[in-house]
């Protein structure tokens, strides 16, 4: 393939450039999503299991131990995300807002259920934990497929 000048590609060169453009794009973002996926799964697991533990806790001490353990893991996940989420795929900012909202709304409801349970509302706590699980896994799968 030759061209008359460097800035005037032949049709074959143009096709090769278009193919390479797609290849560069895929290569550059191939590993970009995994820290966010890891965060979504880990944060979902911590908040879901934490909800169950706090719901089942019959004492104030048990409730706070469960809450501290949950918050500790959520903090670890956040630190991991900040440290390793260097590159992001196009549209990540908008998707991230959706992911956080999809987790935060059921999380607030779950904390209200767990906070008023006093070891009694096992069904409510289980449902809240299940919603957190489904929400987090759905967001993680969505991001992993991007």
């Amino acid at each position: 393939m030759t061209s008359s000048t460097d800035t005037q590609p032949t049709p074959d060169e143009a096709r090769a450039l278009l193919a390479s453009a797609g290849s560069y794009g895929r290569s550059a973002t191939a590993g970009a999503g995994w820290p966010a996926v890891t965060f979504l799964l880990g944060n979902g697991a911590a908040s879901s299991l934490g909800t169950i533990a706090m719901t089942l806790a019959a004492s104030t001490a048990g409730y706070f131990v469960s809450m501290v353990a949950m918050l500790a893991w959520m903090g670890v996940m956040m630190g991991f995300l900040i440290a390793f989420n260097r590159s992001t795929k196009v549209g990540f900012g908008k998707r991230w807002t959706v992911y956080l909202t999809a987790w935060l709304v059921p999380y607030i409801i779950a904390m209200m259920v767990a906070g008023s349970s006093d070891g009694q509302n096992i069904l409510g706590g289980s449902i809240a934990a299940a919603v957190l699980l489904v929400s987090s896994v759905s967001c993680a799968v969505w991001e992993a497929r991007k």
Partner: protein, 116 residues
Amino acid sequence: MSSHNGHYPDTGAAEGDPGVQHPRHRISELIHQPVRFSILASLASAETLDFKDLRDTVQVTDSALSKQISTLEEAGLVAVTKAFVGKRPRTSLRLTPQGRLDWAEHLRVLREIAGG
């Protein structure tokens, strides 16, 4: 070379052929340079790219990459953000809105050429 549409040559008619101009005359020299083309192709599919990730993709030295990024930044096609995570410096890159427009236009011109 710069025109109303970012860094593209004026799309007026070629001399002696009013109203018709071969798309190869509309290729942006700024974007067509191989390393800069690779940089923009990589950034186009990302919201932000870390300098190291971009370097590994484009496969050039740090200094060569920095030089081309500076050219693109001066042209307003790429935005560079420097920050620290702990004690480690982190340089993030992204296409500006003008950069996305110019890149899309460049691909459109290439498709026209590829179509014969």
